[in-house]
C-alpha cells in the first residue's frame, strides 16, 4: 500500500501543496535560510527583484553582494545604475566583486536610468544589474521586467519602503525595515514565506528565519 502511494506521488499530474515550483532559473543568494524559503533555491534570474528599504544603510546592498559576485563568475559584468552615492570600491572588492568588470552609470533623469538598465539587461553582458529608482510609472517597471526576462541577469531594483505597498510587476519583492526582511511578493511561491532577520556581521550581513514564523503549527495532543 505504501508503495502505491509513493508511486502516486510521482505522477506528474499529482500536485502537492507546499512544493515550490520554480518557473525561472535562480541564483543562490548565499544566505542558507533564505535560499531554503525561496522557490528554486535563490534569487530569480530573468526576472526583476525589488528591494524596498526604509532608509539607506540597512544592509540592502550587502544582502545582494554574494549573489552579485556569483553572477559575475562566468566573466560577465556587474552594473550599478544611478546609485544614490559613490559605490566604494574597496568594500566591493572585499565582497569578491572584480572591479575590472564593474561600472557605475550616473544618470541625470529617471528615464535615462530606465533606458540604460533596459539596454544593459537586454545586451546579456551583465551578470547582475542594480538600479536605484525614485518615483516611476508602473509601465516603466513592466518594461524593466520584460527586459529582465530577455536577458539572463540578476536584476535588482532598489526603491524606498513607501513603494512596497504599491503594485509592481517584479517577480520577487522584498521589504526591508530595520532588521526585518519581509517577502512581499514571490512568484512561484505558495503561501507565506515568512519573515527574516538581517544580522550584521564583519563580512556583510547574514539572514535568519524569524523564530516566530515557523510554519509548522504545534500539534496539541487531545487528552
Amino acid at each position: 500500500m505504501a508503495a502505491t502511494i509513493e508511486s502516486l506521488l510521482h505522477r506528474p499530474d499529482v500536485w502537492r501543496g507546499g512544493e515550490h515550483h520554480a518557473t525561472t532559473p535562480t541564483l543562490a543568494s548565499g544566505h542558507r535560510e533564505l535560499d531554503a524559503a525561496l522557490p528554486g533555491g535563490g534569487w530569480p534570474l530573468q526576472a526583476l527583484t525589488e528591494v524596498c528599504h526604509a532608509r539607506p544603510g540597512l544592509g540592502e546592498l550587502s544582502l545582494m553582494l554574494p549573489a552579485f559576485a556569483r553572477a559575475m563568475s562566468d566573466g560577465r559584468w556587474l552594473l550599478f545604475v544611478s546609485a544614490p552615492h559613490l559605490p566604494y570600491a574597496p568594500a566591493l572588492a572585499a565582497a569578491g566583486i572584480d572591479l575590472e568588470r564593474f561600472a557605475h552609470l550616473r544618470c541625470a533623469t529617471t528615464e535615462q536610468a530606465l533606458w540604460a538598465a533596459e539596454q544593459a539587461l537586454r545586451s546579456g553582458v551583465c551578470g547582475a544589474i542594480a538600479l536605484w529608482l525614485g518615483q516611476s510609472e508602473p509601465n516603466a517597471l513592466r518594461r524593466l521586467q520584460l527586459a529582465a526576462e530577455a536577458g539572463r541577469s540578476l536584476a535588482v531594483l532598489y526603491r524606498s519602503l513607501a513603494h512596497a505597498d504599491q503594485a509592481s510587476p517584479a517577480a520577487l519583492r522584498l521589504a526591508l525595515d530595520g532588521e526585518q526582511l519581509r517577502i512581499v511578493k514571490c512568484r512561484g511561491a505558495l503561501g507565506n514565506l515568512g519573515r527574516f532577520v538581517l544580522r550584521r556581521s564583519p563580512h556583510g550581513v547574514s539572514v535568519h528565519a524569524e523564530a516566530a514564523s515557523a510554519r509548522v503549527l504545534p500539534f496539541v495532543r487531545a487528552r
Binding site: 544603510g57 566604494y88 568594500a91 568588470r101 561600472a103 550616473r106 544618470c107 540604460a116 532588521e179
Partner: protein
Amino acid sequence: MLWLALQFPRLALDTRMGAEAQSEPLAIIEPQGARRIVVAANAAARAQGVRAGQVLGAAQALCAGLKTEMRRPKDEDAAMQNLALWALGYSAQVARHGTHTLLVEIGASCRLFGNERRLLQAIATDLEREAYACMAGVAATPAAARLFAQAGIGRIVRDVDALRDIIAPLALVHGELPAETCEALAAVGVRSYGALLRLPRAEVARRFGQVVPDHLDTLLGRRTEVVVPMRIAERFRQHLEWPYAIASSTALLFPARRLLVAAAHWLIACQRATTRLRLSFAHEDHPDTVVDLGLGQASADREHLVAVVRARLERLALPQGCTALTLELSETQALDAPSRDLFVRHGEAPEDAQQLLDRLQGRLGDTAVERFVVQADHRPELCVGATHGSRFSSLSTSRQTHRDPWVVPTKMRPMFLLPKPTPIEQWPGFDWRKARLSLPERIESGWWDEADATRDYYRLDQNDGARLWVFQNRQAPRDWFVQGIYA
C-alpha cells in the same frame, strides 16, 4: 603578390537604383561620333536582344519600346571611388585601372581571412548586397588577372610560371591589345595567346609593333606593370550633402551610416582605429551643430560605430533641418592587433561589454560611466580611483595595486562613500541618544599633501537599523562627520 581584378561592365546601369530590375527595357547610351552606342542594357532589354556595343538604331529595331538614358560618367567615377574605398577594407593596395576596373592585391590579406576562397567569398557577398554586376579574375600579375576576369577564368593562379599554359587557349580579343593589332594578327591566323607565343618574338615586334611583346611580358610577369595604388588620405574627413533638409535625427542615421561605413573602410585600410569622431551637421541659416563623440576603446568596427552614433543621435536636438553632414575622425591610433571583432559581421557576435558601455556613454554623456580602481592610500576618499568614461587604459596601468594585500582593507568598509563628508548634525534623522559606536579605527595620513587627515573612524549603528561610517576629526574633537553608508 596575388592580384584580384574586378571589372564592372554594367556600372553605367548599376549606378542607377533599381534600373536593372525594372520591367521596361532600358539602355544607357553614349554618343560616339555621329552615332549613339548602347553602353549597357537592363535585363528586360537584354531579353529582347539588346547588347552593349550596338548602335542605337539596331537596338531600337530589336526592341520596340526601348527607353534610353544618357551615360553619366561623373556618377560612374564616384561609384568607382566608393568601390575602391570599400576594397581598401580587404587590402591596403588598391588601384583603379581604366574606368571600370579595380585591382586589389589580396596576397597579403588572405591570411587574415584564412584562405583565398574565404576572402573572395566575403568580397562576392559584399558586391551582391550592393547589387553590382562584376567579373573577377585572380592571378599573379595584374594584367593576367584582368585577362582572366574578361575571359571568365575562375582559377586562382599564384604561380607566374603556370600562367603561360593557362593563357594559351584564350582568345586575343579578351586581352588588352589594340583592336587593330588583334585584327592584323587574326588576318595571319593568330587568334589565341598560344599561337602568338609560338611565334618568334623579334619578328612579331617588327611586324605588329613593340606593343605585342610588351603586352605578353606584362601578362607573364616578365615586365613589371606599374600599378599606382590609390592614395589613402592622411585624415578621414568626408562630406555628404542632400538636396532637402532633414529634421528628424533618426532619418539622419542613413547619411551618417554611409559615412561611417566609409570611415570604417578607411580605418581598416590604414590599420588604424578611432577613439574620437566629430559629426558636423550643416544648417541652412544657422551655425553648424557639432557633435564630438569619444569612444571608450579604439574601434574600427563599423557596426559598433553606427551603434554609438545612433545612441547619440537619439538625444540630439537640432536647431533646424540639416542639409549636409561631415564626418571627421579626430583621433585615431594604430590598431595593435587584428581585433577580435574587426571582421565579424553584425549579428554574428553578441555585443561585448565595451560596446555596451560605449553605447551607454554615447547617450548619457562622457562622464556618465564610472569605473573604479583601488589605490594605495589610507585616506578613504583617496583610495578609490574613479575614472570617468569607459576607458580601459587608465585602469589597466594600476591593475596591480588592488592585488597588494594591504590595500584591500580587511576591516569592514561601507558600500557607499560620501566623497564630501557630511557633518553628522545634518544627517537626516540622526540622534546621538539612539546611536551606538563601534571601536575606533585611526587613520592618519596625507601629511605630505594638502588633504591632511587625522581621524578616528567608527561604525555607528542607529536604532532604526541603519549603519553609518562616521569619523571624529582629532584636531577638532567636536566635529563628527558621516562618510559612508553600510548599505
